[in-house]
């Protein structure tokens, strides 16, 4: 039981078996969350710190609740309210947290590979809560848990992902994770937001939203990351909404029992019309609950590894 590696850096480093173990564990954790007594003792006597260099609502809060539900001592640091604002380097900051006896450091950083660059230099386990454009593994796992509650197997299932593929760490983690479990992933977005080489990661590039969504078992919209646009990759929000959003007509092309996901936060009227966000097929709010369950599972399995050493 437990995970193979000390750190939890991304779907890249997980085997199919490890992914399934996390999802199965998360199903159990979900029962804890829905029970009247949200308390386990799996992290009792342990300490968990979240270190966020970027803004977050869902990820940060769900990690924090996950660690508290499991009884850990937990603390939070933001880049703006710490010595980071005085110019302290990432390595010095993480070493400082490590030397306070921290077991797990949950880290979000705007640079791809930032957790990779420091993980070998600390004793604590590093959990990647999103690094630049690289990976957001717990988001992919909560997406997969949402699917797993509706599928018996991922084998042969078509997952459609539409939007800003280039800047999305959610896409990278989903493509890597889903293809490891045998799903077929189709991606689509403006050509200016489609990274060269993405097709060699095991997904297919669709020709249009319709082509992407057609006969899909699950459809995922992505947030247009306006804050990451250094140069205009599309001419206007109106044009984006006209050609690249997932409208009710588009969603109707997916399988009848298909469901709609979105990692949030959503730009209503850009990547999705509000009517779609709120439609019967939307499972966006359920994803949020699953986020807590998956993060409990990851923390639990990481700590199980540490305890076994």
């Amino acid at each position: 039981m437990g995970l193979k590696n000390k750190d939890f850096l991304g779907m890249t480093y997980l085997t199919a078996d490890e992914i399934m173990e996390i999802l199965d564990t998360a199903k159990t954790m979900k029962m804890v969350i829905s029970s009247g007594n949200k308390k386990t003792s799996h992290l009792q006597g342990k300490s968990v710190v979240t270190l966020f260099y970027e803004n977050s609502t869902r990820t940060r809060l769900s990690f924090e609740l996950a660690s508290k539900y499991m009884g850990s001592a937990s603390a939070n640091i933001s880049a703006s309210g710490s010595s980071v604002a005085k110019g302290e380097s990432l390595l010095d900051t993480v070493r400082t947290i490590d030397m306070m006896g921290t077991d797990i450091i949950i880290m979000r950083h705007p640079q791809s590979g930032a957790p990779h660059s420091i993980c070998k230099k600390v004793k604590a386990s590093i959990v990647n809560a999103g690094d630049g454009m690289n990976e957001h593994p717990t988001q992919a796992l909560l997406d997969m848990l949402t699917m797993y509650e509706r599928f018996d197997t991922f084998e042969g299932k078509k997952i459609a992902i539409c939007g800003d593929i280039y800047h999305s760490r959610v896409v990278r983690s989903n493509v890597i994770g889903l293809t490891k479990l045998g799903a077929k992933v189709s991606v689509y977005g403006p050509r200016t937001m489609m990274p060269i080489g993405i097709d060699q990661m095991g997904c297919t590039i669709a020709d249009s939203v319709a082509d992407c969504v057609k006969d899909a078992d699950a459809v995922m919209g992505l947030r247009v990351q306006l804050e990451r646009q250094q140069s205009a990759l599309f001419p206007s929000v109106a044009e984006y909404a006209r050609f690249y959003s997932i409208t009710p007509e588009m969603l109707a092309l997916a399988k009848p029992d298909a469901f709609l996901m979105h990692p949030g936060p959503c730009n209503h009227g850009v990547e999705l019309p509000t009517a779609v966000y709120d439609c019967d097929q939307s499972v966006i709010n359920e994803q949020v609950t699953n986020g807590v369950a998956v993060r409990m599972a990851v923390l639990y399995l990481l700590m199980a590894r540490r305890n076994n050493l």
């Binding site: 890249t12 380097s89 990432l90 390595l91 950083h109 640079q111 791809s112 590979g113 930032a114 990779h116 660059s117 690094d131 630049g132 454009m133 690289n134 990976e135 760490r169 990278r172 990274p195 060269i196 080489g197 993405i198 060699q200 990661m201 250094q230 140069s231």
Partner: protein, 419 residues
């Protein structure tokens, strides 16, 4: 001071002994007249190597490298001549800085250091620098290396004006508008690890432009550190048409690909970036068929604080002087791709000719510049044994052939392996 090197294989001849009197190779003399007789145990003596593209960081960035430490590293690599790029602080764009570099190099006394002047004032790409005055002070070329000469209009003026003084222009070719915060090559690896990539097209576009201008103006142009298949192809075609274009590549472009960046190793980060296997093969083909004239290191020492950081914010560049010959020998000669003669052409005669510095002689009367290498025994390249201040090498721990045993510059030992 009289020295005899005996029991050695002298490159380019069947001689087994070399005689040095003062700073020059001399006619044979008796062992009892010699101050020192060095038995080389059958090892190979090459002419002292020439690297026409290094960064010694002085003045301004002495915490990364000084002219003295860079010279020691050069000697350790078997180099007796190097040309230093002008992107120091202040920029080497005037005769005073040129003279200062030469003075420091003289004091260090471990390597011939040839300054390269900035092509434009402040390497800002706007106004031609004082190329004539800098030539009088001792520059052997001009370049804005680190930066491309971004506009065709300025490059035209630099090519024309430098040709009045017969000074070669070395251009770093990257079209910067295609590089929006890129930290590596654009391709499947950059897509996978979420790092912004720069396309090979960025390099190809500027190489094409440079060739077109040099052809139109009938001037020389030298393309720095070629890393792409398209670049090699265009230079090959241009040479066949008679365009006066020369070029260089670096050991990392024929030994590594962008897969080296897959775990965010900042010692695999440089500009131009490591490319894919297809491009690596094209570089090897260009070396083999003569399209590529020289192997240079682009020796770029950085402090650990500038490298042990997040990949995207880490400085570009790696050190190379102390691994260059062994990588060339192991990956090009041992593999049968080229001969040792060709490697010496790439690492000595060709750069000497492009810079017109008259290096490479092993005959009586020539400056006694030489390097002795052990071509028979494998060694492990160890970054802690480097004499550069930098530790930013991706080759630590590599098993190589061609360890430097002895380097002599102007009749003086500049490096000797302690046995």
């Amino acid at each position: 001071m009289k020295t005899i090197l005996k029991n050695c294989k002298v490159f380019g001849s069947d001689k087994t002994e070399l005689y040095i009197d003062g700073s020059k190779f001399s006619e044979a003399f008796a062992e009892n007249e010699a101050d020192e007789v060095i038995d080389l145990d059958g090892k190979t003596v090459l002419p002292g190597l020439v690297d026409m593209h290094v960064h010694f960081r002085e003045p301004g960035y002495e915490y990364r490298e000084t002219i003295a430490t860079g010279s020691a590293a050069a000697a350790h690599g078997g180099f007796t001549s190097v040309a230093v790029m002008p992107n120091t602080h202040p920029v080497c764009d005037n005769a005073a800085v040129v003279s200062g570099i030469l003075k420091k190099a003289e004091e260090a006394g471990l390597c011939r250091v040839y300054p390269i002047g900035a092509a434009t004032k402040g390497i800002a790409g706007k106004e031609i620098s004082e190329i004539g005055l800098m030539k009088e002070a001792g520059i052997v070329a001009v370049s804005d290396d680190g930066n491309p000469i971004a506009t065709a209009g300025i490059l035209r003026r630099v090519l024309e004006y430098a040709s009045d003084f017969d000074v070669p222009v070395l251009n770093h070719c990257e079209e910067k508008t295609l590089d929006i915060g890129a930290a590596m090559n654009e391709g499947v690896v950059s897509a996978r690890i979420g790092i912004k990539g720069v396309p090979t097209a960025a390099e190809d576009i500027m190489i094409a432009r440079d060739i077109i201008l040099a052809e139109y103006l009938d001037t020389r142009i030298h393309i720095c550190h070629v890393s792409t298949k398209g670049g090699v192809r265009m230079i090959r075609d241009a040479k066949a048409r008679g365009v006066k274009v020369t070029c260089e590549t670096c050991p990392h472009y024929f030994t590594l690909t962008d897969e080296a960046c897959a775990e965010y190793d900042t010692n695999a980060k440089m500009h131009p970036p490591l490319r894919t296997e297809e491009h690596r093969q094209a570089i090897i083909e260009g070396i083999k068929d003569g399209t590529i004239d020289c192997i240079v290191t682009d020796h770029a020492p950085h402090h650990q604080d500038e490298k042990e950081v997040e990949f995207s914010v880490a400085n570009n560049g790696i050190v190379g002087l102390e691994s260059s010959f062994a990588l060339g020998y192991t990956y090009l000669v041992k593999t049968g791709i080229i001969t040792l003669d060709r490697l010496v052409e790439l690492m000595c005669y060709a750069p000497s000719k492009i810079l017109n510095i008259g290096r490479g002689g092993l005959d009586v009367g020539d400056d006694a510049d030489l390097a002795v290498f052990d071509l028979e025994n494998e060694f492990t390249f160890d970054k802690e044994k480097m004499l550069t201040k930098g530790r930013n090498t991706p080759f630590d721990g590599w098993k190589l052939y061609g360890e430097t045993v002895l380097t002599i510059m102007g009749g003086k030992k500049t490096y000797e392996k302690l046995c």
